[in-house]
Symmetry: C2
Subunit: 94 residues, 2 copies
DNA sequence: TTGTCATTTAGTTATTTAGCTAAATTCCTA
DNA sequence: TAGGAATTTAGCTAAATAACTAAATGACAA
């Protein structure tokens, strides 16, 4: 069971989270953004899933991944408060 | 050259950063907090150094490691602004 | 300058990670 | 229900990581 910080240690996985910031995307659409094979991307998705950072939902013939921002917030908040920093989340744009 | 996120991926290294939050400590004093050998700790220090998160200064027969908080802030700030979060650093206690 | 303590380097091992291709699975659609 | 697209699983390889012990280095102190 990889921690959030393990999941964040690979640049592709950080990029995936950013792509998901504005809404869900299918595994294939996500994979198209990166220059590695789809099975490799599938393994990255699995690591993000196991860390609780994303979740996938079967939707038609696709799987739509969505960001679980609260897991990320919680992990960063926990670490940063240990380090004496504060995290603030801005209000949603409307 | 490991990134800040690589350096943060090991729990011992995150704990080292927290121990250094309030000031410098020698390699030996830091190592005493963990249940691994000193050479193993030396490798963890090296990774933190290469990521720019700590620096060591020869001081008497010891090496004093100090936190480079700005590197951590910059990396977290960079990632969090990509993710639509904000980081604030509270004023120093006086 | 020799001894001692602190730290790092060397060298080894086991495990994990990241990547690939090929095959299996899943789920729609015709 | 057969075909086809999307995704994951299996199985493999190479490289990186984390750990250890033993040896080397560095820096003071007697």
């Amino acid at each position: 069971m990889p921690s959030v910080f393990d999941a964040l240690s690979h640049p592709i996985r950080r990029d995936v989270l950013e792509l998901l910031k504005r809404g869900g995307m299918s595994a294939g659409a996500l994979a198209d953004h990166f220059d590695v094979s789809k099975p490799t991307m599938s393994a990255h998705f699995a690591k993000l899933r196991e860390a609780g950072l994303i979740q996938g939902e079967q939707c038609g013939g696709h799987i739509i991944y969505t960001l679980n921002l609260s897991t990320l917030e919680e992990a960063l908040h926990g670490f940063m408060s240990r380090m004496g920093m504060n995290l603030t989340i801005p209000e949603d744009d409307q």
